[in-house]
Each structure stands twice: as structure tokens, then as C-alpha cells.
């Protein structure tokens, strides 16, 4: 019995973190937020094997598993790093591989030459006036908050849990930037007017496996982001002095830090288990994914608020940049199902509804 990361996984974690320390510093995140590009960063991650993490060796990937991907997601969250990881390296390869392991797009994803984004809003929480309709190979309607803005193609989910692929250059597709609070990732609105879409899968199981692994990655991203905020809060509480003492020696402040640690630490085991279940425990995978997404969202929200408070007025400023992680936790919470929605799904999975 061994519950935790293997030596290889710790190595992967160290490698990705070291790379991101150098290439996704707070300054780099600020540059991206101000309109910069993420292509070089993604290229570097591709060279580390991140883009082909879940893709078979036959298709040029490194055939690792969901736990390896969660480790990378955690590191990306820790650095609030931009990049198309969620769609291009996790959800798109999962769907394409389940539907047809020989799909040539897999090799393009693995090599980083193609980026595939995700447009799941119709299947998760359709808004008025934004329905997606597919008929006879043509797609009409709108997807809100598709991710990311630079994708070469999008994996679109409709209300029937069917998955389609649509090229970003397809005639009839237009793409408009949607500003959100989270400037470390760019979302777009996709408008379809008789655009050509290819069916990837009409099997709900493919849809759910794709959705669930995406949710686990968002939970892992929150784990990393919240851990970073806690680390920053603890470091600040040790160094900042008031009343001739480090503020971290006041119980009011140290208890805030303890509460963050107490809530966050079990989340690590939860993310590991959920990722492991994706590959190894199919009976538990769906329920665990829903709960992990919801629970990490709640803990992430608590840590984001509390860590900001520990910093006092400085936490509220742009100077420290703490708000990038605060907002990252915020968007992870809403993407692919808010906590209330995923908990309701968890109840349904157990037959409680």
C-alpha cells in the first residue's frame, strides 16, 4: 500500500515547479495579464512533455496518468500560470483518445503544434440566448466562456452530452474576447452560424470522463493556488511587525494561518485520490471528482479570503499581486460546474435525487 506520489512523480513535480519558477514568475504573469502571449511558456512546457502527458506513446505522447496531470495542474495553479493546459493537454486528449485512439490530432496535441480549447458551457450551465444546436454536421448558436482564446480548434459539448470538434478558422465561427476577473486565463465567446462541426463522440461516458478529469485539474489548480497564498501569508506574518512583534506571533493571526492549513492539507490527499480513481477505480471516479471539485472550491475560497486578510491592506493592493491567485481560485470555482451544481450531481450519482 502506498498512498501518495511515487519518486518519478515527485521528480515531475520538481521539474515543472522549477521550470515555472523561472518562466512563470509574478512578473511574467503580470505581462500576460496586460495582454502578453503564452506561446513561449507553452512551448517550454511542451518540451517538458506536459502537452503529451496523457497521450499514448504511439501518438507521440508520454502516456502518463491523471495523477501526473494533477501534479502539473497543481504546479500551474501555484504559479497562476497562463496556458492551454486544461483543454489542450487534458480534456481534449481524453475525449479524442476515448473516442478514437488513432486520431491524428493526438500527435499534433502532443507536439504542441495544435491547441484545442473547450466549450462546455452549454452542457454545464446554459444561459438564456446561448444554446448550441448541431444538425447535419452544422453548428448554430453560442458558447460562452470557451477556453482558451488562442485555440486552433474547440471541443464543444452540447446538451445531449455529445462532443464535437470545430476549427477556429471554420467559416461561420466568430470569436469574441470575454473579460473576466481572472486575467491569467483568457476566455472567449464563440458564435456559430452554420459552421461545420465534426462529431467526436455521442457516448455520454466519454463526455463525463472528459468533464470529470477537467474538474479534477481545476481542483488541483486550486490546491496549488491556495497553497501559494497560504505560503505567502505565513511568510508575511513572520516578517511584518506591528506593536514591536511579528504579527504571526499574535494568536488572532496565527490561528487564521492554522485554519487555512487545517482545511487545505486534507485537500491534497483528496486531489490525489480523485486523480487515482480516474484511472483505477471507475466505480468511485464520478462521485469523487464531483466532491473534489466542490470541496476544493470551498476551501480555495476560504484560503483566498483569509490569506488576503493576513496581508492586511497590502493584500488588497496590486503591488503584491496576491489578487491573481485570489481570482484564479474564483474562476476555478465557477468553471465546469460551481460547488452547488457539482454537489447536486454528487447526490444524483448516489441515487439521492
Amino acid at each position: 500500500m502506498q498512498f501518495g506520489l511515487s519518486e518519478e512523480q515527485v521528480l515531475l513535480q520538481d521539474n515543472v515547479n522549477r521550470f515555472l519558477d523561472d518562466h512563470a514568475s509574478l512578473n511574467a504573469v503580470r505581462d500576460y495579464a496586460a495582454g502578453g502571449e503564452d506561446a513561449a511558456l507553452w512551448q517550454g512546457l511542451t518540451e517538458l512533455g506536459v502537452s503529451g502527458l496523457l497521450i499514448s506513446e504511439d501518438a507521440g505522447g508520454v502516456a502518463m496518468n491523471a495523477l501526473d496531470a494533477a501534479i502539473v495542474a497543481e504546479a500551474l495553479g501555484y504559479h497562476a500560470a497562463p496556458g492551454p493546459f486544461l483543454g489542450s493537454a487534458v480534456m481534449a486528449p481524453t475525449a479524442l483518445q476515448l473516442a478514437d485512439p488513432t486520431n491524428t490530432l493526438l500527435a499534433e496535441l502532443a507536439s504542441g503544434t495544435t491547441r484545442i480549447g473547450i466549450a462546455f458551457n452549454e452542457a454545464i450551465g446554459r444561459r438564456a440566448g446561448a444554446a448550441v444546436e448541431v444538425s447535419g454536421g452544422n453548428i448554430n448558436g453560442k458558447s460562452l466562456f470557451a477556453f482558451d482564446s488562442e485555440a486552433d480548434a474547440y471541443l464543444v459539448a452540447d446538451a445531449h452530452q455529445h462532443l464535437y470538434l470545430i476549427s477556429a478558422n471554420a467559416p461561420g465561427l466568430s470569436r469574441t474576447h470575454l473579460t473576466t476577473i481572472d486575467k491569467t486565463r483568457r476566455t472567449v465567446e464563440l458564435t456559430y452560424t452554420n459552421a461545420q462541426a465534426t462529431l467526436v463522440s455521442n457516448n455520454p461516458s466519454v463526455f463525463f470522463q472528459t468533464l470529470d478529469i477537467g474538474r479534477i485539474m481545476l481542483a488541483a489548480d486550486t490546491l496549488g493556488a491556495a497553497q501559494n497564498m497560504l505560503d505567502q501569508a505565513v511568510a508575511y506574518a513572520k516578517q511584518r511587525e506591528q506593536f514591536n512583534r511579528p504579527i504571526g506571533s499574535f494568536q488572532a493571526v496565527k490561528h487564521m494561518c492554522a485554519e487555512m492549513a487545517a482545511q487545505l492539507e486534507p485537500c491534497r490527499a483528496m486531489v490525489w485520490f480523485a486523480a487515482h480513481a480516474t484511472n483505477e477505480l471507475p466505480d468511485e471516479a464520478r462521485l469523487t471528482a464531483c466532491h473534489t471539485k466542490a470541496h476544493l472550491s470551498e476551501v480555495g475560497k476560504f484560503v483566498a479570503k483569509t490569506a488576503t486578510e493576513v496581508h492586511g491592506g497590502m493584500g488588497f493592493t496590486d503591488l503584491l499581486g496576491l489578487h491573481y491567485w485570489f481570482k484564479r481560485c474564483g474562476s476555478n470555482r465557477q468553471w465546469l460546474g460551481s460547488p452547488e451544481l457539482t454537489r447536486e450531481e454528487a447526490a444524483a450519482i448516489q441515487g439521492l435525487i
Binding site: 502506498q2 492549513a261 483528496m270
Partner: protein, 397 residues
């Protein structure tokens, strides 16, 4: 990641299951201490290695090699079959490990066997009215007079004192030494003249604890564990065991499942509680928290087993998170029952024998006992996160 225990352990699990199938019906239900059924069951469990498993044969144990997975499998299987896992109590869980570590040969021979057999019941004399979170400031004194200690003072929060044969007790023997170095660990009989036990009725309505008063209690000199002044270190070695046992996520899972059953059967206004979306969401929030603590527990088990990762913080937070979670869970059952949730004792509308109300209150007690939540947060922040300690205030003369 590998969650299987391996084939040799699955074989062991089968052995445990066969024992349960054959003897499970002899498990005493709610057996009182010292009842013949409980003692008989205890004897059978020791003979088969299902309790007192690693205690050497010479002291009346089974004499097995320590193996965490064996212990885990036994605990899991007994819990699944809802069998009595054998006797617990502070004598077995706290004193016996202490004696095995630092007791003299004579002490081991005298005390361990009758304690694990359930024939010798112990209580723990640690807390005092003036020494709660700051336990090391305790003032119960023991003064050597020839071959005897003379003990004066008062203890509080002493569970099972009214039933106990013996007490293991922290007393101040070196009043001039620094507070942590002036304490000794004594053992004495509760029937010794000068001991008075008064039950302390708590908010549940029961007397789960007592106050114990000592007036010139005379105790033979050799009934000390380790040396004079080493009592604090001796007590601390086992206190961490106590904290580890509070807030066990597997017990919480059983309560969560009972809550789900309650919500499926109980109706308000003709609707099952589980069909109420607000209640259902609260249930799912709890289920997520229980899940996180169960996985945290697996991580701790694995780190102890393989010594391959640092799960120190994961261990430190268990008492705080586990007791708060359990209190929230019990409280939710009360909330969703409305007025029926107030029913207690002989009220005919009581559900589950009043256990929701009782446990809701009892776990508030556990949030406070065994190191309060606030002390836990000091420990987590100072030892886990390395935050500075609060400046000490010197006692004015």
C-alpha cells in the same frame, strides 16, 4: 499510488472474516465494564490476536509483531460487522504503552496483564481546575515522607474515576524546579484513604467525568513511573496517541451513512428530508468533508507504513478537523428534524435513541477536551507552519 494491501494481507483479512463468521455472535452489545460477557469476549480476542495484539505474551498479550496493516484490517472488519473491538479506556490505550516504554519489570508484570484483561480499570489524573490548557502548571503535590508519597490536591475531567481500581496521576514533586521538570508520574489505588470522587454532570445530562480530591493520600514510594521530575516527558509520550484517536474519520463515515438513512426515512410536511434541496446540499458538503478526511487518513497510514513522505501536517490537523466535522454532522441531523430534533431522553419522538443530540453535545466536549481547538491551532501554526510563539509573560512575584 497503490491502495491494495497485497495478497498476503487479503489472506489475513479472510482469516479475520472467518473468525467473525464463527464467533461474531458472542460480541457483547453495549457491555458494561467488568460484565462477564465483556471479559469473556476480551479473553477470546486476545487469544486470537484481535486486541492487545502486539503486547508481549509474558504480560498477557498476544505477542504479535507490530504491523499497521494487520491492525487496520482488524479494525475495518470489526467495524463493518459492527462487533465490539475489545476493551478500550485510558488504562489500555494510555498507561499500558507508557509502562511498556518506561515501566520497571515489576510494574510491567504487576499491571499490564490485569489491565488488558479488563480486570483492572484505570483513570487518568492529569487536568486540574487551575491547569487545563496549561497542564504543566498543575499543583497537586506529592511530598516524600519516609517510604511514602503524601498527596494533596484536586483533579478534574477524570473519566471512569467512579469505577476505577487505580489511577495514573501527574503530581508536583519538585516545587522548586522549572514547571515542566517538577512533575512525576505516580500510580495508586483509588481505594486509598483520603480520595474522594464526585461525579461532574455535563451538558449531556450524564456524568462522563468526575472531580477527584486528594487529602493526605499515602502512596508507596516505588509506585512512580520513570524518575522524579520526568513525569511531564512520560505523559507527553502518550498524549499524542490520545489525540490521534480523536476524530477518527471512519467512525464519522458510519455517522454520515446513518444521517443519509435518517434523511431518506424522516419526512416533514410529507416530503422526505433528502428531497429538500437545501438539506441535500448541506449533506453533500458534509460528505465532501468526510471524504477529504478519509483520504487524509489513508495518507497518514501510508506515510507511517512506508516512511516515504512528510505527512506531519496531515497528522497535526486531525483532532481539530475531525472533532469539528463530527460536531457539525451531528448538529445537522438536529437542524433538519426541526422541533423533533429537540427530543431527548424519554421523549417518544426521539430518533436513533437520542444519539444525535447526545453526540452533538459530546463532540463539543471533545472539541474542548484532549487539547482545545485553540491549542490545536497553536500547535499547527507554531510546529506545523513555524510561526513565532507568543512572547511569554513572566509571572509577577
Amino acid at each position: 499510488m497503490d491502495l491494495s494491501f497485497g495478497p498476503e494481507y487479503e489472506e489475513f483479512r479472510q482469516t479475520v472474516r472467518s473468525f467473525i463468521a464463527e464467533h461474531g455472535e458472542k460480541s457483547p452489545r453495549n457491555a458494561a465494564l467488568r460484565s462477564p460477557e465483556a471479559l469473556q469476549w476480551q479473553k477470546m480476542l486476545i487469544e486470537n490476536g484481535y486486541t492487545a495484539r502486539t503486547i508481549p505474551k509474558e504480560y498477557g498479550g498476544y505477542g504479535g509483531t507490530p504491523n499497521m496493516l494487520h491492525s487496520r484490517i482488524i479494525a475495518e472488519e470489526f467495524a463493518d460487522a459492527r462487533l465490539n473491538p475489545g476493551l478500550g479506556g485510558q488504562g489500555i490505550s494510555m498507561l499500558v504503552p507508557t509502562l511498556l516504554e518506561v515501566g520497571t519489570q515489576a510494574q510491567k508484570e504487576q499491571f499490564i496483564k490485569p489491565t488488558i484483561n479488563g480486570e483492572m480499570i484505570w483513570c487518568q489524573g492529569y487536568s486540574e481546575p487551575g491547569a487545563g490548557s496549561d497542564l504543566a502548571s498543575l499543583t497537586t503535590s506529592a511530598v516524600l515522607d519516609g517510604d511514602e508519597w503524601i498527596i494533596n490536591g484536586q483533579k478534574i475531567w477524570t473519566s471512569t474515576a467512579q469505577l476505577a481500581d487505580w489511577i495514573f496521576c501527574l503530581v508536583r514533586t519538585e516545587p522548586d524546579a522549572p514547571k515542566h521538570r517538577g512533575i512525576s508520574f505516580l500510580l495508586f489505588e483509588m481505594s486509598t484513604p483520603g480520595i474522594e470522587v464526585r461525579p461532574l454532570i455535563d451538558m449531556t445530562g450524564a456524568a462522563n467525568f468526575n472531580e477527584v480530591f486528594f487529602t493526605d493520600v499515602r502512596v508507596p514510594k516505588q509506585q512512580i513511573v520513570a524518575q522524579r521530575g520526568e513525569g511531564w516527558a512520560v505523559a507527553n509520550a502518550v498524549l499524542s496517541h490520545e489525540r490521534d484517536s480523536l476524530g477518527n474519520p471512519n467512525a464519522t463515515l458510519l455517522r454520515l451513512n446513518a444521517l443519509i438513512e435518517l434523511m431518506k426515512t424522516e419526512t416533514v410536511g410529507g416530503n422526505r428530508l433528502i428531497d429538500h434541496p437545501v438539506y441535500r446540499d448541506r449533506l453533500m458538503q458534509l460528505q465532501g468533508r468526510v471524504m477529504a478526511m478519509r483520504f487524509n487518513d489513508l495518507r497518514i497510514l501510508s506515510s507511517r507504513l512506508n516512511k516515504d513522505q512528510d505527512a506531519r501536517l496531515a497528522r497535526m490537523i486531525v483532532k481539530l478537523q475531525g472533532t469539528e466535522l463530527r460536531h457539525d454532522l451531528e448538529g445537522m441531523a438536529i437542524d433538519i428534524m426541526g422541533e423533533v430534533g429537540l427530543s431527548y431522553e424519554d421523549n417518544p419522538y426521539t430518533r436513533s435513541g437520542g444519539s444525535w443530540q447526545n453526540q452533538y453535545m459530546y463532540f463539543l466536549g471533545l472539541i474542548i477536551g484532549g487539547g482545545t481547538s485553540q491549542i490545536q491551532k497553536n500547535i499547527i501554526s507554531e510546529r506545523g507552519l513555524d510561526l513565532p510563539r507568543e512572547p511569554k509573560i513572566e509571572k509577577s512575584a
